[in-house]
């Protein structure tokens, strides 16, 4: 068959692949071990898992190492890997209050019910680049003992509950329990249920969501104003499945997540001015930036009520692989389409010159 004719392109590809592999794997520095990614670059690993929609720290570390630290590349590797796997089971829903907290911040109240836990955070650390090894912590240093926050469970006093008890929250809890929209099996497009919006944002590229939010502050959009955060939580949640024989709940693991509630002041003429509403953000790993943007945009999208393009923007333009893939496809050959465009330029000119 006509095989030999197709060799030139293949050789170019193989050479490129070889260059990447050799220059990466034969770098004079030590190869980075997977536990160095998960242990020392945990926020990067968390972001890859969040944007992949797959909780798998070791695989995320492998993807980052293979992709030379390119986040989008790592997400692509992980999601493409997931495509080859069937689904064995669906976990039993777990209540967000079952979280084992390692961090909880409640900006809306000085003394909320339950703990305020600053936890592992650089929020109030001076951003000064450490250029020496002098500050590296030594295991014997007693001032840095780890606290036992992981064992802390919140009381049920999440801020939306507190506000509801004070009759300060509009009630739009639904009484039915619809199946969540599965964005990995059905493409989400407007009008979509809230679960489609939330899962799209949970998997979105972090920077895309932050930008969607910031467009409202200094850009052309005005869907939202500055909200008050009710909850910013980071902690561990269990994964439980139903035992195939007994039907009982079995714990098969856990994952970490960031959860945010954003309290919105309702100021629209048609809105209930005596109460607040709340937006929700939730994503894999420790990624407060993303969860806060998500909670803000969730309530903004609800208040917009499909009047504008916000829902479409959130559902269809925030996925990192979609946007980056399409952007980069511009590198592919386009000489057939370009030839056709040139031909039309000549045709328009010919008409203008009266030669037709």
């Amino acid at each position: 068959m006509g095989y030999a004719a197709a060799r030139g392109g293949l050789n170019a590809i193989l050479t490129a692949e070889n260059l990447v592999r050799r220059l990466r794997d034969l770098d004079p520095s030590e190869r980075i071990e997977l536990d160095q990614f998960t242990g020392r670059l945990r926020l990067l690993v968390d972001r890859v898992m969040g944007e992949s929609g797959l909780w798998a720290p070791e695989l995320a570390a492998m993807a980052l190492r293979q992709g030379e630290g390119d986040l989008i590349e790592a997400v692509h590797l992980l999601r493409a890997y997931k495509s080859t796997l069937g689904r064995l089971d669906t976990a039993i829903p777990v209540h967000a209050n079952d979280i084992q907290l390692v961090r909880r911040v409640v900006p809306a109240f000085r003394e909320p019910g339950g703990p305020q836990i600053l936890g592992r955070s650089t929020d109030y650390t001076a951003r000064m680049l450490t250029t020496t090894d002098r500050d590296i912590v030594d295991a014997s240093d007693s001032t840095t003992t780890l606290d036992t926050a992981l064992k802390t469970r919140p009381s049920n006093s999440r801020m939306s509950d507190v506000l509801r008890d004070m009759d300060l929250l509009v009630d739009r809890r639904r009484t039915d329990d619809p199946e969540p929209f599965d964005i990995t099996r059905t493409p989400a497009k407007p009008p979509a249920p809230r679960s489609a919006l939330l899962s799209s944002m949970a998997r979105a590229e972090t920077g895309a969501l932050v930008n969607q939010w910031y467009r409202n502050i200094l850009g052309p959009d005005g869907y939202l104003h500055e909200v008050t955060l009710g909850e910013v939580r980071h902690g561990k949640l269990p994964i439980n499945v139903r035992h195939p024989m007994t039907g009982g709940s079995v714990n098969i693991g856990s994952f970490r997540a960031t959860e945010v509630e954003a309290i919105e002041d309702l100021n629209g003429s048609e809105e209930d001015r005596t109460r607040f509403d709340v937006g929700y953000g939730f994503c894999f790993g420790h990624n407060e930036r993303k969860a806060i943007a998500m909670a803000n945009l969730d309530i903004a999208c609800y208040r917009d009520g499909a009047k504008s393009g916000l829902e479409q923007s959130l559902l269809m333009t925030t996925d990192g692989l979609d946007s980056a893939g399409f952007l980069e496809h511009l590198k592919l050959p386009h000489y057939v389409t370009f030839r056709s465009m040139v031909e039309r330029k000549v045709a328009v000119r010919r008409v203008a010159d009266g030669k037709n």
Partner: protein, 298 residues
């Protein structure tokens, strides 16, 4: 359904004792990259697409080893259709040797073990970006076109809900107005590739972008054409022997690309889609490289 069968089969054949083993066994059985459940789902969407020519069917586009925008939709369609006896031809801009064509072809052949070919008459599946081969194709061929933007009306309307309404009601008046305004302003219709066509007198489709040169090939074609848009998660189809009419006016004939008497510097043809090397004499050559080579050899 298929999932349970596969799991049981894996259990019986090799008796895995852990979940990790069970999962491992499943992945090694993957023919054509995707799990069977995914391939069935894509085939169901394709069947719907064939039944409603030109209608954009949503499907659960998977993440592929190629990036979105790089043929991931066409690849999923090919992998959902491929069987062990198929032979695949893959072209990009008409060229079997283009790097993206090579990459997609090796993914198909590596994951299936099927034959590859550059010859249309040896191929059963032809995946292409931006071209239809110059050769005649028949009922034995499935042409799979990679689609970057499946929505033909996006140039005149951005809102997804409004677009759905326009297609549902076949309300294409604004499309006609835009073509009319184009003609009035510019003297010609300036749409270059991806020329909008009415399929089976019902749906307007985006023709991927193939050049206008290729559009007449779609009308009453003997072959089935499947369109895969991975990023936008849609498939659509033009079944064999279906009317495909480029949108134009009674007194404005549809024009394909012309190159003012230019001929291919390699085969001498003036009856193929030619591409140009800028700033050179005798700079034209056929975009379809396999066809060009055969013209020289016969």
């Amino acid at each position: 359904m298929g999932r349970t069968e596969m799991t049981l089969e894996a259990t019986v054949n090799s008796s895995p004792t852990t979940i990790a083993e069970l999962v491992g066994h499943r992945t090694t059985e993957t023919f054509a990259l995707l799990d069977e459940e995914s391939k069935r789902e894509i085939r169901r969407a394709l069947l719907q697409a064939v039944c409603i020519p030109g209608y954009q069917v949503p499907f659960g586009s998977r993440e592929m080893p190629v990036a979105r925008g790089w043929g991931s939709g066409g690849l999923q369609v090919t992998l959902a259709c491929v069987g062990a006896d198929d032979a695949v031809k893959v072209i990009d801009q008409g060229d079997d040797e283009g790097v993206n064509a090579v990459n997609l072809r090796r993914l198909v052949t590596m994951s299936t073990g099927i034959d590859e070919t550059t010859e249309v008459d040896e191929a059963t599946l032809i995946q292409s970006r931006h071209r239809i081969p110059e050769d005649d194709m028949n009922e034995n061929h499935i042409l799979i076109l990679q689609v970057p933007v499946p929505e033909p009306l996006r140039g005149i309307e951005r809102d997804i809900r409004e677009l759905a309404r326009m297609h549902a009601e076949a309300d294409y008046s604004r499309m006609w107005v835009s073509l009319y305004e184009d003609k009035v302003r510019n003297g010609v219709i300036t749409q270059s590739t991806g020329y909008p066509c009415l399929v089976a007198s019902r749906y307007i489709v985006a023709t991927t972008p193939i050049p206008r040169w290729d559009i007449p090939r779609l009308h009453q074609s003997k072959f089935l054409t499947l369109f895969g848009a991975g990023r936008e998660k849609r498939v659509y189809a033009i079944p064999p022997y279906t009317d495909v009419e480029p949108l134009t006016f009674e007194d404005v004939p549809f024009e394909v690309e012309s190159a003012d008497g230019a001929t291919c510097r390699l085969c001498g043809s003036s009856d193929s889609f030619l591409v140009e090397m800028p700033g050179k004499q005798e700079s034209w050559s056929c975009s379809d490289t396999a066809w060009c080579r055969r013209q020289r050899n016969t």
